[in-house]
Each structure stands twice: as structure tokens, then as C-alpha cells.
């Protein structure tokens, strides 16, 4: 154990701090999530120039070209979090498509798509899930039939975030209807302006349309807009899923949520006494604090594994399941301690923290379900982590 950073890394930390201090006027607000926000794009340009976005991506495609360094990545995340300043544009184009193209794209695709994606000029959405293909993604049925030099796409996608704003979609389609389900899929890139695409917002329980349904009717996609070969789309998509898990967020996000709840409990009162004086509320807070610390130290362990280029094993496999569950329970506690004030919603008078706790409570439930549901996570943990056998397939009637 050695929790200190070497002078070289401390110097790097100062560099990051100086950068943040110098450029704080240019940073958009944390709540500015608009994918078309000019302020965010301008901020992204500054971050790209200084290596705080696309840090390890090759220069020739618009990246910064730095060697991968898990400790520097962590320091950047820590310092941006401490300064309460937003990092670069994230989203499925940067997080999932770009690493996939780097690994499996043609040279032409890399040249054409990576740089504008990094700058935020080209916004992507992900066409994976379908009404009949959720956890069983490989059961997807959106069909692409080759006619001359075009694929003709028909079908429907769901849970497509940013579909309404996106310029482009990376999309899984079935090109080989007679092949076994994992071998009949291809990975296509096409413009969301192509005729035959209809986007319908999907309103969720939070009152927002965070997702969309996307319908394809005879959408014509040039045949060279494929990543990998025909029938290899499942393998291509799994390359991006690996990248999704590699995303680095705010290492202390859960701890700052917990601290916000402690602050509410110290400042708000019931019967004239602070909420913190209620032994039951307090016990729940401290119980969650134990879990928050356990996950924080688990995260530090993951940084060390990444730095040593070792597999994180079980410590990595459990993060999505435990992290989402913990965030959800933190929001649940915040609502419970606020009692009646906890049910206020949207722009209600007297609402606390702009209603973020109810929104988080609902949205985090969505995160428990999405991106590989809790049940799928448990299958992964038991099969890959504990070496337990798969559930036998039911014979087809």
C-alpha cells in the first residue's frame, strides 16, 4: 500500500490544477448536458488541445497521443471533480464508436468519423436494443438486405438516447437471416438524415424523454458503411461493450452524494431538531457510508490494477451492479429523510436541490435495468467470476 503519488505525478496534478484555474471561465456549467451546446463544444476544443479529452487517442485522428496512464487519468478525474468543472463531451460516439473504429474500422472510416466525433461536431446514437431484443440482444431482428450496392434496412430500435439530436447511428442489423443468431449480425454506420428514419421520443417515469424509439422503413445504406465483415457485427459490438466498462467517471461521486445527504440532515429540521438527531436516519446514513467507502477503495484498487495492466477480476465485475444499487439507495435515503419534502417534483415551490433526488431515484433505477440489467450482471459474475455453469438452453419445440 502506498497512497502517495510520486513527485512526477504530483507535478502533473499541479499542471491539471493550473489548467483548471486558468480556464475556469471557459467551462460550461455542470448541468449543461446539451449535445449541441456551443459552450460545451468550445470547452471540448480546449480540452482536446491540452490532452484532457481523447488523451490517449492517436494524434492522426484528432487525439492527444499520450501513452495510457491509469494514474494520470485518475488524477484528471479527481481534479475535475474537486474543481466541480465538467470533463469533456462523453456519449456513445466517443465512448463506444471511436474505440471500435480504432480497433476494427477501415482507414477511411477512421479518417472520416473519429475527429469530428471527438470535437462534438458529429453526434452519434447507438442502435442496439429492440423491443424483442433486450437482455437477449443477439435476438435482434432489424433486417438489412443487400440490394445492389446498398443495404435496405427495415425494423425498429428502442432505448436510443440522443437519437433526435444525432447526425449518425451505429446500428446492429441482421444481414444473414439463416445463420445462427450470433453469426447473422452486421454493424452499420449511417446518417440519421437518411430517408425512412422516424424518431419518436420515449417518455420515462422521470417525466423526461431520455430515450427514443427509432423506426426504419426501407432505409438505404451504402454497402461500404459496414464495420468489420458481414456477419461479424456481434464481435464488433462486443468490442465496444468492453470499452463501455472501461469508462472512467468521477471516483468520488457516491461519496459526494453521501456528503450532500449528511448536509441535508444537519441543516433541515423536524420538530425543531436537526434530522441528524434521529437515530434511525443516522444509522441508515452511516450504514451507507460503509458501503460508499468500500466501493471507493474498490475503485482505488481498480486504478492500481489498470496501472499495472492486470485484470481486475471480481473487483471489476461487480462495479456496475453494486455501484448502481448504491446510488439508488443513497437517493432513497435522501428522499426518506426529507419526508413530505421528498415527494416534491419538477418545479414545485419549496423543492430541495432542484428535485435531483427524486430524479436520481427514478433514473438510477433505469440504470440498474439498462446497460446490462442487474440479472445479467449476476449471470456474468456467477459464470465468469465464480465459474458456475450456464443455464441449459430450452429445447425448441
Amino acid at each position: 500500500m502506498n497512497l502517495d503519488f510520486t513527485p512526477e505525478y504530483e507535478a502533473f496534478r499541479s499542471e491539471v490544477r493550473d489548467f483548471l484555474e486558468t480556464h475556469k471561465e471557459s467551462a460550461p456549467r455542470m448541468s449543461d448536458r446539451g449535445v449541441r451546446s456551443e459552450k460545451r463544444k468550445a470547452w471540448q476544443k480546449i480540452l482536446l488541445e491540452h490532452g484532457y479529452a481523447a488523451r490517449t487517442l492517436p494524434k492522426e485522428y484528432g487525439g492527444y497521443g499520450a501513452a495510457p496512464d491509469a494514474l494520470k487519468s485518475r488524477i484528471i478525474a479527481e481534479e475535475f471533480s474537486r474543481a466541480k468543472m465538467p470533463g469533456g463531451i462523453s456519449g456513445q460516439g466517443i465512448n463506444m464508436l471511436v474505440p471500435t473504429l480504432l480497433e476494427l474500422g477501415t482507414e477511411e472510416q477512421k479518417q472520416k468519423y473519429i475527429e469530428p466525433t471527438l470535437t462534438g461536431d458529429m453526434v452519434w446514437c447507438q442502435g442496439y436494443s429492440e423491443p424483442g431484443a433486450g437482455s437477449d440482444l443477439a435476438a435482434l431482428r432489424t433486417a438489412a438486405v443487400l440490394e445492389g450496392d446498398h443495404f435496405v434496412v427495415n425494423g425498429q430500435k428502442i432505448w436510443t438516447s440522443t437519437a433526435a439530436q444525432a447526425d449518425m447511428i451505429f446500428c446492429l442489423v441482421r444481414t444473414e437471416p439463416d445463420a445462427p443468431k450470433h453469426q447473422g449480425i452486421s454493424y452499420l454506420l449511417f446518417s440519421m438524415d437518411t430517408p425512412g428514419i422516424e424518431v419518436r421520443p420515449l417518455m420515462t417515469m422521470t417525466g423526461q424523454a431520455e430515450f427514443n424509439e427509432v423506426f426504419f422503413t426501407d432505409v438505404r445504406v451504402p454497402a461500404d458503411q459496414i464495420v468489420g465483415k458481414r456477419g461479424e457485427g456481434w464481435m464488433v459490438a462486443n468490442a465496444t461493450l468492453t470499452h463501455e466498462r472501461g469508462m472512467l467517471g468521477d471516483p468520488d461521486a457516491a461519496l459526494s452524494r453521501l456528503n450532500s445527504i449528511a448536509e441535508i440532515m444537519q441543516t433541515e429540521t423536524i420538530d425543531g431538531a436537526p434530522l441528524m438527531d434521529n437515530a434511525v436516519y443516522r444509522d441508515r446514513l452511516i450504514a451507507l457510508q460503509g458501503e460508499v467507502y468500500a466501493m471507493k477503495f474498490n475503485g482505488m484498487r481498480l486504478t492500481t490494477y489498470a496501472n499495472e495492466k492486470k485484470s481486475a477480476g471480481m473487483a471489476g465485475m461487480i462495479v456496475k451492479l453494486q455501484g448502481c444499487e448504491l446510488n439508488h439507495r443513497l437517493a432513497e435515503l435522501a428522499i426518506d429523510v426529507m419526508g413530505e419534502y421528498g415527494i416534491l417534483f419538477e418545479d414545485s415551490p419549496f423543492i430541495r436541490d432542484h428535485g435531483m433526488w427524486q430524479t436520481a431515484y427514478m433514473f438510477d433505477l433505469g440504470l440498474i435495468i439498462g446497460g446490462g440489467s442487474a440479472q445479467i450482471q449476476k449471470n456474468i459474475i456467477s459464470e465468469r467470476g465464480l465459474d458456475m455453469p450456464r443455464e441449459p438452453k430450452v429445447a425448441k419445440k
Binding site: I286, G290, N307, L321, K378, S382, L386
Partner: protein, 360 residues
């Protein structure tokens, strides 16, 4: 920045693991639990040869001068193999207490004797955590009277280090006025007793007692957490192995999602506890301002996860888990015992709240 164990720490833990794999297998544990103390002596001797009792004793007094993290790694293995051992009180808490609370001469004498094997300390600090039923020991001059309850380390101790009001004292177990009451607990691998004292001659430690008692409690909580972690880790492993072996409906029960998800839940809750334990143990020596809080976090959280695993792993074993044949209950009871000593989860969380100014 390196969050993990050093090669030396891994080797230390592996050497204890290898020794216990053969010397603390279930059959040995059963023999001990049925009252055959000869085995405990043999185990004690083997652990002594590995240097285990010396871990926290400074080099100046003949010890290894290692830290609480090393002690926790050893304790994890003792929990893993439900080893009959008084390591937590005798070589964890007592040594940590003497390091802080004894004056220079007393440190030389008592730590030297512990290192040499002539003295084995039990500890009585239950009342410093929370005095039930009016128990407590008071010091008058150089003798102590009163009740110390749930005194730890009674299986091997020939002396006791006791909190007595604002002081910390050592008594000889064979001294006049010491009356012991043996207790039967759920856990047959460790022994706690009631000590009733009437004007028992004692040696009062010359250093500051309050920080010494707090150190003993903090180190004790970390080690009990380590023991429960090791026991719980073994229970998950046993449950997974059993589920792969046991067949029902013509297939291993490990292929049923209902069973797999129980195992995944156990693993998912346990894995972050490993990092919490490492940090809590490391903090005792290296991040002193966080040491007390982290010992509370580790003790309370790992007790809760341990309880969940104790019941869930037993359930995965079905009816067999409930029998004595399988012996799984030794782990179940070990975790249950650790949970209550030195403050259960609610008490420990209350202490954590006080430390942060959230409660008085």
C-alpha cells in the same frame, strides 16, 4: 500510488494459509471444539514458528515490527480456516495496547515476555465499548475489583490486560481474588469468560490509558472484521463448490439462476469489503486521523455482509448446510460471534457518527 498488497505481505499471508490448510482443517477444528485443548497447543506452536505472534511487537522487543495490515492478513486466514486461536486479543489488541499505553520499562518487560512466549495476554475492554448490566472494573491503589465481562483470549491467557476506569492494568490470571466463569458461546473455536475480581493485585500501565484503550478497540475491530471477512470468503467458496457438485432435476444446482444469483450477490457484496478491510487496517498505522472511523466502517459493514453470507451460503447448501456433517456452522457461528464483540453494527455505527460530529 499503489492500492494493494506488497509481495512480502502476499508471501506472509500465503505462508499462514499453507500452514492452516493442513493444521486447521475441519477435522482438527472439530476435535478442538469438542474440548481437546492439546491440539490448540500444537497449533499455537506452529503459528509461533511462523512468527505470527510477533507481528505487531516492535523489533526492539524481539518482534517483527509489522503493522495492523499484516495482522489483519493473518487474521483473515485464521477466520478462513475457523482456526482456534486467540490471535486477536493476545497478539493484536494486547500488543497494540502495550505499544501505546505502557511506559518504556513496561514495554520492554511485557512485550519481551510476550515475544518470548512466557506471557500470553487476554484482554478485557468490553466495558470501554459499552457496559452492560453495570459491569466494570475499578482501580484502587494497585488493586482492582469488579467485573470484566466477555474477556477475550481466555483459551491461552496467563495474564489479562484490563480497562479499569481511566486506567489500563495487567493482572496475573492465577492471582488471589480472581474468579472466572466459563461461558458457552455459539463459537466453540474461541473462548470468552466473565472475570470477577476482588482486590486483585495489578500493575498499572504508566502511559496514557485512554488512547491505549481506544487503540485496542480499533485494532480489535479491524481484526474481528478481518476474521469475518476470511470466514465469509470461505463460505462463498464452499457454497459455489457445493452448488456445482450437488445435482437435482438431473443437473447441478449451480446451473439454476436462482442459485447462481445468490452466489453472485454474495460475491458482489463481499469483494468491496476486501478493499475496505485493507484500507481500514492500513489506516491504523499510516492515516491515524482516519483510523478510528475506518475501524468502525470495517467492523460494521463487514459484520452486515458477513451475516448475509453466513445465512445465504448455508441456504445454498440446502438441508446439508443445516447439519453438523458439513461443519458449515463453524463459519456461521464464527461470523455471529465476531459481530457482537467490541460493539455490534448499530453500536459501531453510532461510534462512527460521534467521531464525525453527527451525534453526541
Amino acid at each position: 500510488m499503489y492500492f494493494g498488497l506488497s509481495e512480502d505481505q502476499i508471501m506472509l499471508q500465503d505462508s499462514v494459509r499453507r500452514f492452516l490448510e493442513t493444521q486447521s482443517d475441519l477435522e482438527h477444528v472439530r476435535v478442538y471444539a469438542e474440548g481437546d485443548d492439546a491440539l490448540a497447543g500444537q497449533l499455537q506452536q506452529g503459528l509461533m514458528e511462523l512468527g505470527v505472534p510477533l507481528v505487531l511487537i516492535p523489533e526492539a522487543q524481539g518482534g517483527l515490527g509489522m503493522g495492523v495490515l499484516e495482522a489483519a492478513l493473518i487474521q483473515e486466514m485464521l477466520g478462513r480456516f475457523v482456526t482456534p486461536s486467540a490471535f486477536t486479543p493476545a497478539y493484536g489488541m494486547a500488543v497494540a495496547g502495550l505499544n501505546v499505553g505502557a511506559d518504556a520499562d513496561q514495554r520492554n518487560v511485557w512485550l519481551g515476555r510476550i515475544a518470548g512466549g512466557e506471557v500470553v495476554m487476554g484482554v478485557g475492554v468490553t466495558e470501554a465499548v459499552g457496559a452492560r448490566e453495570g459491569a466494570g472494573v475499578t482501580l484502587a491503589g494497585t488493586s482492582v475489583s469488579g467485573r470484566a465481562s466477555f474477556v477475550m483470549g481466555a483459551e491461552t491467557a496467563n495474564h489479562f490486560l484490563l480497562a479499569a476506569g481511566e486506567s489500563l492494568v495487567i493482572i496475573d490470571r492465577a492471582a488471589d481474588g480472581v474468579r472466572e466463569t466459563d461461558l458457552t458461546t455459539i463459537d466453540k473455536t474461541r473462548k470468552v469468560i466473565m472475570l470477577d475480581l476482588e482486590n486483585v493485585a495489578c500493575e498499572v500501565l504508566g502511559g496514557s490509558a485512554q488512547p491505549a484503550v481506544e487503540t485496542m478497540v480499533n485494532v480489535g475491530r479491524v481484526l474481528l472484521a478481518a476474521d469475518s471477512f476470511g470466514a465469509a470468503d470461505m463460505m462463498v467458496q464452499k457454497a459455489v463448490a457445493y452448488a456445482k457438485d450437488r445435482e437435482q432435476f438431473n443437473r447441478p444446482i449451480a446451473s439454476f439462476q436462482a442459485v447462481k444469483h445468490m452466489c453472485a450477490d454474495m460475491a458482489a457484496q463481499l469483494e468491496p469489503c476486501r478493499s475496505l478491510l485493507w484500507y481500514a487496517a492500513y489506516a491504523q498505522d499510516n492515516v491515524p486521523e482516519e483510523g478510528p472511523l475506518m475501524s468502525c466502517m470495517a467492523k460494521s459493514h463487514i459484520s452486515e455482509v458477513g451475516k448475509f453470507i453466513a445465512r445465504t451460503a448455508t441456504e445454498v447448501h440446502g438441508g446439508m448446510g443445516f447439519t453438523d456433517l458439513m461443519g458449515l456452522h463453524y463459519w456461521f457461528k464464527r461470523i455471529g460471534f465476531n459481530r457482537q464483540l467490541l460493539g455490534g453494527p448499530e453500536k459501531t455505527r453510532h461510534d462512527a457518527a460521534v467521531l464525525q460530529g453527527f451525534a453526541k
